[in-house]
């Protein structure tokens, strides 16, 4: 135990030093393809929450008491197993999500990072993000997470209106949120992100914009604007169904989104993804892995992953999901070393569909180089160049296809799902009619 602390301590110190180095804005820049399969991002799911939020249908549990030691051991075991299975040599980002991972002890975070550092190279400048809930993360705790190796915080602030926070079932007040934000910025300068929700029932555009302006005054270099999705099975959904709450107005949400992104642009933020905004190059590298269809390992109950199990001699990218329910997941991890419940190999076409759907969420879109890493034969021009429907989208100014690649315009980004209704079938059709490559055997 003592030696591991020393080791992780050393890694943390190096990481701190690395943070001070200027960051490269690497989003969209291709990396050498041969190393892509030896690198991965790691997602760690902490499944517990203090209280159920009224809008959340994600995999989370409100426990009577958490056996944290057992949970920690299982997370460590599963991280080791999957890292070995994947044959990954370098982990470039770790994201502790949930649930409410800030309810876990910093020791658990440290133990997972230590396991990663032992199994692979965890470079000192790797991004290690923790989702933090304002009430469960007072300053002292945040500092302890920092000491454990966390170097970036994502704060679930959600709103600066106490009535809205109550409606959302959050345990914190607007004041709590701002205080946590201030402490986080002090501890992790330039490495703090905040979430703000829009499109809540009865929310007004002007009032919401005032919240955003106020948040701009307090926030760091990264911000996420999320439109509320009413998910089945949540109390908010039920209240809207029963008519006790008004249904969110999609027109107002669209207006908030448009106004909000304009305000942020004027404040020097780059909208580098549908819901994500950064200035001073503070883009999240972890999320970039999702959008760029890089490899990622998911550990913890219900976590998702996408990687090639090279350690087991595999060559195909697989979609994995871990067992949802924490107790069952733990049993499986203790028995088999991991709790993978489902593992589906992805066809080449499926991977390309993901490259397209995820890549277009970003401002750089899908570049020709990026596409080529996944499909060297069929170019973006081959797929989309001849389509009348795609041409219409370009003429409407929603989509661009040029020497850089395929991407959404500012207007197009807001209606991406409608664009994909045309682009995905077009890709499927082009894929079916492609001339099979003479060499490729798989």
């Amino acid at each position: 135990m003592a030696s591991s602390r020393v080791r992780i301590g050393r890694w943390v110190a190096a990481a701190r030093a690395a943070q001070r180095r200027p960051r490269a804005d690497s989003l969209g820049q291709p990396r050498s393809p041969e190393s892509a399969s030896t690198r991965a991002a790691l997602y760690v799911h902490w499944p517990y929450c203090e209280k159920r939020c009224s809008y959340c249908n994600f995999n989370k549990y409100i426990p009577r008491g958490v056996e944290e030691g057992a949970m920690r051991n299982c997370l460590v075991t599963e991280a080791r197993t999957l890292l070995r299975l994947s044959g990954v040599q370098r982990v470039e980002s770790v994201f502790f999500g949930g649930g409410t991972p800030s309810l876990a002890s910093p020791h658990t975070v440290a133990a997972v990072l230590e396991a990663v550092a032992q199994e692979t190279l965890l470079p000192a400048d790797s991004e290690v993000t923790l989702e933090a809930n304002p009430t469960s993360a007072p300053g002292s705790r945040l500092a302890a997470f920092g000491a454990a190796g966390v170097n970036r915080l994502s704060i679930g602030l959600q709103s600066l209106d106490d009535t809205e926070l109550q409606l959302l079932g959050r345990t914190h007040s607007a004041g709590d949120g701002l205080q946590t934000l201030a402490e986080a910025r002090r501890l992790f300068p330039g490495r703090v992100s905040v979430d703000l929700m829009l499109g809540l029932p009865a929310q007004k555009v002007e009032a919401w914009l005032r919240q955003l302006q106020r948040l701009l005054y307090h926030c760091d270099d990264h911000l996420s604007l999320y439109q509320l999705t009413l998910e089945r099975g949540t109390s908010l959904f039920a209240q809207v169904q029963q008519g006790t709450l008004p249904a969110p107005d999609p027109d107002l949400a669209a207006e908030m989104y448009q106004e909000g992104r304009t305000v942020l642009r004027d404040a020097g933020f780059r909208q580098y993804e549908v819901s994500n905004f950064a200035r001073n190059g503070a883009l999240s590298t972890h999320n970039r892995t999702y959008w760029q269809c890089g490899q990622y390992l998911g550990i913890g109950p219900g976590a998702h992953g996408r990687f090639v199990s090279q350690g087991a001699g595999g060559h195909t990218r697989e979609a994995r999901i871990q067992t949802l329910e924490p107790d069952n997941w733990m049993k499986e991890v203790m028995l088999f070393g991991h709790g993978t419940r489902k593992c589906v190999p992805l066809s080449k076409l499926e991977v390309l569909e993901e490259v397209l759907a995820m890549g277009l969420r970003t401002d750089v879109g899908v570049t020709h180089q990026h596409w080529q890493q996944f499909e060297p034969q069929l170019t973006l021009w081959d797929v989309f160049g001849g389509s009348r429907e795609v041409e219409e989208l370009r003429a409407q100014g929603l989509l661009l296809l040029d020497h850089r690649g395929l991407r959404c315009s500012w207007e197009g980004l807001a209606v991406l799902d409608s664009l994909l209704m045309i682009l995905l079938p077009q890709l499927q059709e082009a894929w079916q009619h492609r001339t099979p490559s003479p060499v490729s055997g798989g």
Partner: protein
């Protein structure tokens, strides 16, 4: 011992399994040994001998009732009481075999069951011919009644006489059948059988002491219904010694055995191997199988005069077993029975496959379904927008819905249905058109073929006499509704101190779409409605187009009365607005008469349509959703570049209560 009895049972079980049809879904009947039958094991194995039942021991009867008054429940009890089916809790609407019948609690298809019943030391053969309850199916009712000598008129002790009770009573009365009034649901808290007795006396002129008060649900007094059937309904007036004369009163199609005709023998007898002739087609067939329905087909050696059963004789198509046709023995021709009026379609709608590649599947599904429902008329039709399809004629809107539901449930076919219309007529003035149509008066079943006013002397629309029975407190609202539907009041009778019966002359098109729902909603469900055909009247009709960004939507072309154009146009535009999903551009919805726009709505363009985030890298769910939507889009109808989901059409066309 145990082994022995098991062995002893085996042949019977095998015999029973052989006797029962392969597609039977009735578990209670399928259980060997559980069924209590009046026949011995040996007899069942050997097929029952029907000669044991002389004419005087036979009763043919039907149950008629307003919907939900308990017809099917009473039928279940009668079947149990006579040992036709086992007494279990599972017996719910045993004769309602179709999924749609059980789901909707209605009877669509007539069914027949033969009951064996011992009364005062004698075994009787009672043929129960179940009939549908809804107005749309009154042709089925009359068809079934022609094989009967009496009816049980079931009336709910709480709701009393309803519109269909009246209509059904008069059908039975006109057919000169004995009517046994049965007041059902006397166990209900609000039951008032005495009041219902008085209504029956007043409206039908039947003395109140003739009413039998029962609870079919609890089985109370049901035995006395069977006794009344024997005592009050006369045996059929037939003669076993005459040559065969059999009435076809229904037919079904089985893909393995061909047409199964339900027949009532008026004279003579019939058995396997007989050569029979259809009086209608003059075709000769050899009888493969005869038997009784209990309620599944149970083969017998013979059927004798007065009996009701089934007959299979190598007919390949239900049109070969026309309802109302007479069958007789080869070389022994008889006077055919008076034929039935064939059912007349009152509501027409275009039916198209969502995708033309599904045309053949849909074609075969429609063919199979119409084999069992000859009341649906089928004309091939095609539209520029929808490709090849059909214009089908239905007996009413419920009939149309049921047909569509059966296409979906039983044949897994999905279709686009166009606005239901009624058969309008036009008296042509243009010599050229008269020459083209070879007649002066034409029937228009497709609104797209509506001839222009300039070529027409006058338009005619079908009218019906509608009967409404309602608690008096709703009379005012109902009269206003009828007036708004261009109806003319014919009379008004108080059937008791709280209830009134109204008769109106309605233009048919005013009631086919949403009249029934409006009536139900404004009377809190208490008013009932039924109608009968009353010919044609002149009408000021015009054709209205619905346009999306300037393109006509053919399936929404509507013929309307001039007075109604604005209201109808506005309603269609509003419904379209509510059901068209947003697209990447604005959509203008317009209703127009010729070039004149009379109503307009706008669907705004999408401003935001993108999922906020994929939780923890859960791309699978997002991709599945996107791909499912993209797949669904392929099936969408396109008008110009506007994509229209099938739902949007259905929402526009579907019955909706008035706003």
């Amino acid at each position: 011992m145990w082994t022995l009895s098991g062995r002893a049972l085996a042949p019977w079980a095998a015999g029973a399994a052989r006797l029962l049809p392969p597609y039977s879904r009735l578990v209670a009947v399928l259980e060997p040994g559980a069924t209590c039958t009046p026949f011995s094991t040996a007899e069942l194995k050997e097929k029952p001998d029907m000669s044991r039942f002389p004419v005087e021991d036979i009763r043919n009867f039907s149950i008629i009732a307003h919907v939900d008054h308990g017809k099917s429940t009473l039928a279940d009890r009668l079947l149990e009481l006579t040992g036709t089916i086992d007494k279990t809790k599972k017996n719910k609407q045993v004769l309602d075999k179709l999924q749609v019948e059980r789901e909707r609690g209605i009877t669509v298809k007539a069914q027949t069951a033969t009951l064996f019943y011992n009364f005062e030391g004698k075994q009787y053969l009672l043929n129960l011919i179940d009939t549908p309850g809804h107005v749309d199916f009154s042709y089925e009712v009359s068809r079934s009644l022609s094989a009967c000598q009496g009816v049980l008129l079931v009336v709910d002790a709480n709701e009393g006489i309803q519109a269909q009770t009246v209509a059904n009573f008069f059908l039975a009365f006109e057919a000169q059948l004995s009517v046994i009034p049965v007041i059902n649901k006397i166990d209900l808290k609000n039951a008032d059988p005495e009041r219902v007795e008085k209504q029956i006396e007043k409206v039908f002129d039947i003395p109140s002491e003739e009413c039998i008060k029962i609870s079919a649900k609890l089985g109370t007094n049901v035995e006395s219904v069977l006794q009344a059937v024997i005592e009050r309904i006369p045996p059929p007036k037939v003669c076993r010694e005459n040559p065969l004369r059999a009435l076809v009163f229904d037919s079904t199609f089985d893909q393995y055995r061909g047409v199964i005709a339900n027949i009532a023998l008026l004279d003579g007898m019939v058995s396997k191997g007989d050569k029979i002739v259809s009086a209608h087609t003059k075709k000769t067939y050899e009888v493969n199988e005869v038997g009784v329905l209990n309620p599944n087909e149970q083969p017998t050696h013979k059927l004798y005069a007065g009996q009701v059963g089934f007959l299979i004789a190598g007919m390949k198509d239900v049109t070969e077993a026309q309802i109302g046709d007479t069958l007789y023995l080869h070389n022994h021709p008889v006077e055919p029975l008076p034929g039935f009026k064939s059912a007349k379609p009152m509501v027409f709608a275009g039916v198209y496959p969502i995708d033309q590649s599904e045309y053949n599947n849909l074609k075969s599904a429609i063919e199979k379904l119409t084999l069992n429902d000859s009341s649906v008329t089928v004309h091939r039709d095609s539209s520029l927008a929808l490709g090849a399809g059909w214009r089908l004629g239905f007996l009413g809107l419920l009939h149309m819905e049921v047909f569509n539901q059966r296409l979906e449930q039983e044949y897994n076919a999905s279709v686009i249905l166009t606005t239901p219309t009624v058969p309008y007529k036009a008296v042509l003035s243009s010599a050229k058109l008269i020459k083209e149509y070879k007649e002066k008066e034409i029937t228009i079943i497709n609104p797209a073929q509506f001839p222009d006013k300039s070529k027409v002397a006058e338009y005619l629309e079908p009218v019906v006499v509608g009967t409404v029975v309602t608690p008096t407190e709703y009379t005012g609202k109902i009269m206003a509704l009828c007036q708004a539907r261009r109806a003319i009041q014919k009379n008004m009778i108080f059937i008791d101190e709280n209830r009134v019966m109204l008769k109106y002359l309605f233009p048919l098109n005013e009631i086919v779409v949403d009249f029934y729902d409006s009536l139900k909603s404004l009377s809190s469900g208490y008013a009932s409605f039924d109608y009968e055909d009353a010919g044609y009247q002149t009408a000021e009709l015009i054709k209205m187009d619905i346009l999306l960004n300037g393109n006509i939507v053919e399936e929404l072309v509507t013929v309307v009365h001039r007075e109604k154009a604005y209201t109808v146009g506005k309603t269609i535009c509003e419904r379209l607005k509510d059901s068209l999903p947003r697209q990447l551009f604005e959509i203008a919805i317009q209703a127009a008469i010729g070039s004149k726009v009379i109503a307009r709505e706008t669907v705004k363009a999408y401003r935001k349509n993108v999922l906020a985030k994929c939780y923890g890298g859960d791309i699978t769910r997002k991709m599945k959703l996107l791909k499912r939507q993209a797949e669904g889009k392929k099936k969408l109808r396109k008008i110009g570049n506007i994509e229209i989901p099938k739902d949007a059409f259905i929402k526009v066309l579907k019955t909706q209560p008035n706003k």
